[in-house]
């Protein structure tokens, strides 16, 4: 029968998903649009491969190793596999649990450890002690998130937009929602951080700026989080910007929160025509920036982002709008490189810039 590995992993987290892993019928439907397998074309690198590795490690059929850990961390958490799985397997839960067991076994990458240390020491992912929440009294608690807090001008712009629309957000000191801890397998750290977070942000409902924070406030903290675009849409007056753009759906919007129409309706209200990419809305391709891959496998992340920019270029417009700070960052880098190498002129803009322009 099966040869067992010499050292079996001590599973604290993955064990819970043993039955769930048996539900995977290994049909490979998850290959269809997985950004990682599209790029590498190895079966090991798709969701099915990751589930097989997790199963093998859990049962001691293969040794846990740095190679296995690297494979488990090669995932953008884009959720596309979950949309396609005919057995509705909780793929992301399995992958993040496998990551947690591997981190406990000593396979955390240095870059990931660094981010977690930053959160522990400063409360934000960048370890930036200068990051300050623009505290203000208001009606609805606003959760800004690390990425916007580290870009004070963008944050100010968003808050001014809210003020202009008579939305009165309450801003207080905040710390990271803890999503990187959960996603990168630092569950022990997250347990401690969660208590800390809930003391600094003791609300049942909130407005948020970042799609990933929105998902995680809901799933990790049971807070009724509403993304700021949902709030803005209700109050935004019409404008006539006369622009033509394409729109990139962040995965946490299109597949996580199912926020697909709102950004489009906002752009439409502002007189912005959208030329859709071949893969958009629920079928949107990932930017390559999620799931920790940006830190642990920069070149893979870059390749995925470049594919997305090429898709945007195919629409014939030269502006791609998105509504996620991570997507914005990785797509900007990819667009710069493609513009330089191929002489194109693609510009990446975040939606708040367009809203701001429309309100001015």
């Amino acid at each position: 029968m099966t040869i067992k590995a010499k050292t079996k992993i001590k599973s604290k987290y993955l064990k819970k998903y043993e039955k769930e892993m048996n539900m995977c019928i290994r049909c490979a439907y998850c290959f269809e649009k997985c950004p990682v397998i599209k790029e590498t074309q190895w079966d090991t690198d798709g969701a099915r491969g990751k589930i097989i590795l997790s199963y093998g490690v859990l049962h001691g059929e293969i040794e846990h190793s740095q190679y296995v850990a690297d494979k488990l961390f090669q995932c953008t958490f884009c959720r596309d596999c979950m949309e396609r799985c005919p057995s509705n397997v909780s793929i992301l839960d399995i992958i993040s649990s496998a990551r947690a067991d591997l981190v406990d076994a000593g396979y955390a990458s240095d870059t990931h450890k660094h981010v977690i240390d930053n959160i522990k020491s400063t409360g934000n992912i960048y370890g930036d002690t200068e990051v300050i929440s623009p505290e203000r009294e208001g009606k609805t608690p606003l959760f800004i998130g690390c990425q916007y807090l580290s870009r004070p001008n963008k944050t100010k712009k968003y808050i001014k937009i809210l003020e202009k629309l008579d939305i009165n957000p309450q801003v207080q000191k905040e710390i990271c929602c803890g999503f990187p801890m959960e996603a990168l397998g630092f569950r022990k750290e997250f347990k401690t951080h969660k208590e800390k977070f809930q003391k600094t942000f003791p609300f049942k409902e909130a407005i948020t700026f970042c799609p990933t924070c929105t998902v995680f406030l809901r799933e990790g903290h049971e807070i009724d989080a509403k993304h700021v675009l949902q709030v803005i849409l209700e109050k935004l007056p019409k404008a006539d910007l006369g622009m033509k753009v394409t729109y990139h759906d962040p995965c946490d919007f299109s597949r996580g929160l199912k926020i697909i129409d709102e950004p489009r309706k906002i752009l439409e209200k502002l007189g912005v025509e959208i030329i859709e990419m071949k893969n958009s809305k629920e079928q949107s391709n990932c930017c390559g920036g999620g799931g920790g891959i940006l830190m642990s496998d920069q070149s893979l992340s870059d390749s995925i982002a470049k594919n997305r920019i090429k898709e945007a270029i195919e629409t014939g417009v030269d502006i791609v709008v998105t509504s996620c700070p991570t997507c914005e960052t990785v797509l900007k880098k990819a667009a710069t490189e493609i513009n330089e190498s191929e002489g194109t002129n693609m510009v990446v803009r975040n939606i708040e810039d367009i809203i701001w322009k429309g309100l001015k």
Partner: protein, 476 residues
Amino acid sequence: MKIDVNKLKEIVGEDNVRDNIADLYVYSSDASVHSSKPDAVVRPGSVKEVQEIMRYANKNKIPVIPRGAGSGMSGQTVPLSGGIVLDMKHMDKIIEIRPEDVLCKVESGVINDELNRVLQPYDFFFPPTPSSGRICTIGGMVGTNASGVRSVKYGATRDAVIGMKVVLANGDLVTLGSNTKVDSSGYQLAKLMVGSEGTLGIVVEATLQISPLPKYRSMGVANFLALEDAGRMISKTIATGITPSMLELMDNVAITAVNNAQNLGLPDVAAIVIFECNGMLKEAVEYDMGRIKKICKKNNGTGIRVSDDPDEMTRIYEGRKKLFPSLSKYREGLFTTALADDMAVPMSKIADTVHEIHEIAKRNNVVMSAYGHCGAGLIHTKILMDTNKKSQWEDAKRAVKEVYSYVHKVGGTTSGEHGIGFSKGPAFKQEKKDSLGMMKAIKKALDPNNILNPHKLMDSPDDWLTATPLRYQVNT
């Protein structure tokens, strides 16, 4: 047998060979119940590379197992005695599309749906429609003679393949078949290669007949209180000369599964039949749909609905579409296994076979649902069981044996569209006992060193359950 990985890297490049234990573990299984590791995984990018690999493997008597998406359900790509898995996904060029000749030529790593996306602007499509079409490769479809819901009208892959290029065991490249619909020029070797599961050669290119995209489509549904009525309706429809583009049956276990898991409120009847017609003329399609409706009524069908509205058609098909995830959640602790999954029986025996499947499941302490492309005589089943229990595997083994005994007794065949691999080896060998000698002679002539996907089809082990470790954890 020791594989020289460096030699393989010389042929295909360092990035296209993997021999890490983690990769080998992933490539040790497909969608079947088995697991057995290869010694290396190699991704050729050209015909020349495939030839060089085969020359090396043949000289050193190393098994070579071609693999597409690895979605096969019968263990076709599981390497029983190690060797090299040839991952063909890199050979994914659509070589040419010739609408005027109603054909296209593609490399074997092309994905079925991708081919159809490319054909669409020409108003053509490649008819075999396996439900894995979104990820399965043309090479895999050729290997298993795959079909799908539309086989009732368009047939299986073999019907669409008219020619191919194949790398033989010794590395020689041969062109088989032709570019014509009819071919009376000697042995039909291209057709022989279809369904040979990589045991006779590595298919590197296929010439495929394509069909014009139908302009109009209409779908209907009918409920039946007795399985026999549903079976008769299916049989009569085909016998009347109507060619539906889909004729699908769901039995009561399937209906219950969908209702339990999805709360769709499907009627609690013995069977639901979904039918579809397509074509170029609305009037012709409506005429055929009218005839099917009459046949449904005559055979005690109730709740008959027909529509060409896309939303309504989606609603009609929803139960069938959601069947698979529903089976996975049929009952806590039961898991879906790909066993006895795609037998075909003569049309008149469909109802009896479905009924017998239920009896066999009851007798053997497993759950079995029957559904599928019954218009082509194809019945899908899944065995739901507690995969952790050793006794359940013995139950499943008995059930599988009994199902195939019955299928053979009524004149049916072991596999309708997923192929044999070695999961179905014992039943296949029983069914084809008269022609096993011919098959072995053909294999010996084309692959004297037995390196091409060995231990499959007629050479498969006598006991599928112990042939390899199961990919599930089984407690004793």
